[in-house]
Amino acid sequence: MLSARDLTKEYQSGTTRLAVLKLVSFDIPQGSFVSIVGPSGSGKTTLLGLLAGLDTPSGGSVTLDGTDLTRLTEDERALVRGEKVGFIFQTFQLIPTLTAMENVQVPLELRGESGSAERAHSLLTRVGLADRMDHFPTQLSGGEQQRVAIARAFSNSPRILFADEPTGNLDGDTGARIVELLEELNRESGSTIIIVTHDITLAQRAGRMIRLKDGVVVEDVSKPAA
């Protein structure tokens, strides 16, 4: 369960304080597939950063499985991320000096876990890249890079996965295949998936859609259960 309570984020701009998020609150049960939508500047990415423990709020709290992330230090939050959180970025953010296989291994190696090679191998096979494991990111297409990123995001069996505009840098067909893959993995792993996007078609595929405008939740709708 991920809970946001009265989340507020303000930035100092010159002499005035700018509120990017204002008193945002919601609960996301484990295993959900949620999309956060809104126009540019609505506070989507800021909200994602706070929910994932990448940043600290000016007010309010974020609780992941009973742990209040806002009370942790940066390094403690890093450990939580390493254990429970996965990320997918718009620009893929693979480490250019590592192969596809090595990129997927990174979260496990940071935790000092053994068997990382086997796990990476099985995940890359699962995302359809069994024959591209030793390729470097620059040798892969955009869709392939994003699939490596998905494999990496699932390598530590995260409780929750955040995807920031996961199809933003991909063509329509490739984007659709990526979303299908995410949906499948959501079903298979039981991980919570939170997608931040301004693509309303993509957002509507999620089970629940939270709409932001000017830092405030203006809509929070769930699809009726199938």
Binding site: L54, D55, L79, Q93, L94, I95, P107, E109, L110, G112
Partner: protein, 854 residues
């Protein structure tokens, strides 16, 4: 699995990740780390070679001295002292004598004449060390008749060969061999006056040891293994020293040589250390650039759960490995230099140096190199801990600078950095005071460079106006825009220019005195040891060749017998001067005259004639250096022992003398009345145009007056010219070495902003800028950076070189503007070349490729 095991496993995984992550950055990181390679090479080469020399000194100290204990004096021993030495022989401690003096040597077959160092030796000399002759085995024959063994340089100078007859004074010797190798003297010192070894029993027959001769005597004692030299001399030293006899044991000799070698090594070590610190700046600049490139990766790692410690560990490990490789490359280069050094400077080495690998120097060089690389790399690397994982979502260029001032670790690294520089300075400089001066010098230079760079940014911001051509405006604006490279480039370039220029200026100043000699002296033939009654004869010899003597200078030998009524020993004790002070013990070769000459300048008091002194006192003008050695000043009374006759003088003036001119100059000049009856010899000079006339005059004078020595100054000048040329080559090599050192450092400094320049240049291209315009923008930026760095470095080098020449070498500093300006220009050209090399990628890259990347 236990917790420690889990931790161990985690760190081993991190190490693997660090290694894999470095894959594409290794070459670049290695380039940055190579900044320290030349510094490490210098330290290893200098330390290893110094250690080799020290070992060789220890191994060859007895060979160098020829005995266990040496007694030496400018006069024969008094009867009681002589009987002490004679008695040693009967107690199983053989004594060998060496009488050395300067004389003309002429080959009777070729007619060649040359000033030589005559060494009349007794049987047994040397007790240690092997003298190899050509033909072989001739040394054993030396004592069997009127034979001579000479240095090969003399054979060449006289056009002589083995078997010829060599006239020394009034005796003819058969040359039975040439010295092929012998411990104790460098080739360079033999060029001026090659040696002639004779049996001692013929020395008096040459009639060159009489009045006016400048013979020195040495008695070498061989001790049985049961007696140490230190214990042996303990009871004898006071007796001998009271009669101005120097007593030196093999241990002292070893220490003396070792100390002078160490001093030279310390000085060169400081040069090496500066090179290493310059390399450190290169590492810091390069790693800074590296860090900028790694922000995205670090942000991703942070998102994936890496703690700040893990991130730091990954990049510190990479830097440490590359730093180790950079330092190891430096070690290999240093060893190569160490092996090349004895070959390059063999003419100046007084002993055979056996080159061996010195593991202490190597491990020290490696450790210092890795440490300097790490401590300089750590400062920029620490910034990676502050990279926020949010950077993976949105780029924030200011992310690295945030909160740097509040970071305790940054302060600790700063302290470690300053502490390391101080520690290294103390270790290299050999003393706290010199180390502190050295560290302050480096700190001061850096501060001046940093301030001048800050001033350039400030001025650039204020002078740019829209009226300027766009490309110039853009180039100048690069000097103050955010994330500019003004400080790092000026620091690296200025420090490099400072180092190279200082080296050159010190060399130029040290060698200048020789050039002065060559330029100013017209006289090129000097005669000395002329007896009163030989002057007319010498005049007629000169006249026969259309020449004339340019005045005769009387020379009187004398010693200090009292200062202000106290014996030299009592005076030394009262002034806290060592009893064996050279000025108190030396035999002064003085003159008398009424007038001051062109090579002298009064620095205190007044020249003769103004003081009202009693008849018993004469006026004395003393050169500054013995005056300061003896702690005497104007008004003090010095009583001289002029060959047994006491002569009292009062110092009425102190002089500085330009010794660079080969003309008769003196420490002590007395009023004529003081010495009018003293026994004397004369020296004279002549200006002779042709070399053949010089040779003819030397032959004629030695044929008629064997006791008169003469020296061809043009030959001396040529010889000095050769030595100067060899030293210049060595120093130029050092300067080139320093220049080479500047290149990777500059590359690293420029690399820090290379990506920004690249992105900006490509954007400009996209907007329609031509390659030529971009080249001009880069040119104006780097020309300004180069000019400021090089000029500041040049100004600093004047201060640095003045300090070294004044405090370390005790000379007068004269700035050599033209060469320093040339070095500054070269450094500027280097900056522009490196800047334009950076631009090469801008010219090559298509706008699309770069925009896609950004």
């Amino acid at each position: 699995m236990s917790v420690p095991q889990q931790g161990q496993k985690r760190w081993s995984k991190i190490a693997g990740l660090a290694w894999r992550e470095s894959r594409t950055a290794r070459r670049r990181l290695l380039l940055y780390m190579s900044s320290i390679s030349l510094g490490v090479a210098a330290l290893v080469a200098i330390d290893s070679f110094a250690s080799n020399v020290q070992q060789s000194i220890r191994a060859q100290a007895r060979d160098l001295m020829g005995g266990d204990v040496s007694f030496s004096s400018n006069a024969k021993l008094s009867a009681p002292l002589q009987s002490v030495l004679d008695s040693l022989n009967t107690h199983g401690m053989p004594v060998a004598t060496v009488v050395s003096f300067i004389s003309m040597a002429s080959d009777t077959r070729s007619g060649g004449t040359r000033l030589a160092q005559i060494k009349a030796v007794t049987t047994g000399y040397p007790f240690y060390g092997n003298i190899v002759t050509a033909p072989e085995g001739q040394w054993a024959r030396l004592q069997q008749g009127p034979y001579a063994i000479v240095d090969p340089a003399l054979l060449i100078a006289l056009d002589a060969k083995v078997g010829d007859s060599l006239a020394i004074g009034y005796v003819k010797f058969e040359i039975i061999g040439a010295v092929k190798s012998m411990a104790g003297q460098s080739d360079a010192s033999l060029v001026m006056a090659p040696r002639v070894f004779l049996p001692d029993r013929y020395a008096s027959e040459t009639q060159l040891l009489g009045f006016g001769s400048r013979a020195s005597y040495e008695w070498l004692v061989k001790l049985p293994p049961t007696i140490t030299s230190t214990n042996f001399v303990k009871p004898l030293r006071p007796k001998f020293q009271n009669e101005h006899v120097r007593v030196v044991t093999v241990v002292q000799r070893e220490t003396n040589i070792a100390e002078s070698v160490q001093q030279l090594a310390d000085f060169l070590g400081i040069v090496g250390l500066i090179a290493l610190l310059l390399g450190g700046i290169g590492v810091a600049s390069g790693v800074n650039a590296f860090v900028t490139r790694k922000i995205d990766t670090v942000a991703v790692l942070r998102c994936l759960g890496a703690t700040s410690g893990q991130v730091l560990a990954i990049y510190v490990a990479q830097s440490a490995v590359m730093g180790f490789i950079g330092a190891a490359a430096g070690v290999l280069l240093g060893i190569a230099i160490q092996f090349a050094l004895p070959v390059a400077i063999k003419n100046f080495l007084p002993l055979d140096v056996s080159v061996t690998i010195d593991w202490r120097a190597i491990s020290m060089g490696l450790a210092i190199g890795v440490w300097v690389a790490l401590v300089f790399a750590l400062r920029p690397l620490l910034a990676l801990r502050r990279v926020s994982p949010l950077q993976a979502l949105r780029r924030d260029t200011a992310a690295l600078d945030a909160e740097r001032n509040k970071d305790v670790a940054t302060h600790l690294v700063n302290i470690a950095l300053i502490g390391s520089v101080l520690l290294l300075a103390f270790q290299r400089a050999g003393s706290l005071r010199r180390g502190a001066m050295f560290a302050a010098g480096i700190g001061g230079s850096m501060l001046v460079l940093w301030l001048s760079a800050a001033a350039l940014s400030y001025v650039a911001r204020r002078v740019v106006t829209p009226r300027w051509p766009y490309v110039i405006r853009q180039g100048v604006a690069n000097l103050y825009r955010p994330a500019n490279q003004t400080r790092s480039v000026v620091l690296a370039l200025g420090f490099g220019a400072f180092l190279v220029s200082t080296l050159y200026l010190v060399q130029a100043n040290l060698l200048k005195q020789f050039e002065v000699t060559a330029a100013q002296s017209k006289a090129n033939l000097i005669f000395f040891d002329i007896q009163d009654d030989q002057r007319a004869g010498l005049d007629s010899i000169l006249k026969s060749q259309g020449q004339r003597a340019l005045g005769y200078t009387p020379i009187i030998t004398m010693k200090v017998s009292a200062i202000n009524g106290r014996t030299p020993a009592a005076w030394a004790a009262s002034q806290g001067i060592p009893a064996n002070n050279w000025a108190l013990r030396r035999e002064f070769r003085s003159t008398f005259r009424d007038t001051i000459v062109a090579t002298e300048k009064i620095t205190d008091g007044k020249w003769f004639g103004s003081a009202q002194l009693p008849d018993s006192l004469s006026e004395l003008s003393l050169e500054e250096s013995p005056a300061s050695e003896m702690h005497v000043k104007v008004g003090d009374i010095i009583t001289w022992d002029v060959q047994g006759v006491p002569v009292s003088t009062q110092i009425t003036s102190l002089r500085s003398v330009n010794w660079g001119r080969f003309e008769p100059n003196f420490f002590a000049v007395l009023q004529p009345k003081a010495l009018k009856d003293a026994p004397r010899t004369y020296a004279t000079i002549a200006a002779v145009q042709s070399d053949s006339v010089i040779a003819l005059l030397q032959r004629s004078s030695v044929a008629r007056f064997p006791n008169i020595s003469s020296m061809d100054l043009s030959l001396v000048r040529r010889t000095i010219g050769q030595i100067v040329a060899e030293v210049s080559v060595a120093v130029r090599f050092l300067a080139l070495f320093s220049l080479a050192m500047g290149i990777p450092v500059l590359f690293s400094a420029v690399a820090a902003t290379r990506r920004d320049r690249l992105r900006e240049g490509v954007l400009l291209k996209t907007l329609g800028a031509t390659s030529r315009q971009i080249a001009r923008i880069l040119l104006s930026e780097y020309a300004l950076l180069g000019a400021l760095g090089a000029l500041t470095g040049m100004v600093l080098s004047f201060a640095g070189a003045w300090g070294l020449v004044h405090f370390i070498f005790g000379g007068t500093f004269a700035p050599a503007l033209l060469p320093a300006a040339m070095i500054a220009l070269a450094m500027m050209a280097l900056a522009i070349a490196i800047g334009l090399l950076t631009g090469r990628d801008v010219f090559r890259e298509t706008p699309m490729a770069a925009l896609r990347e950004s």
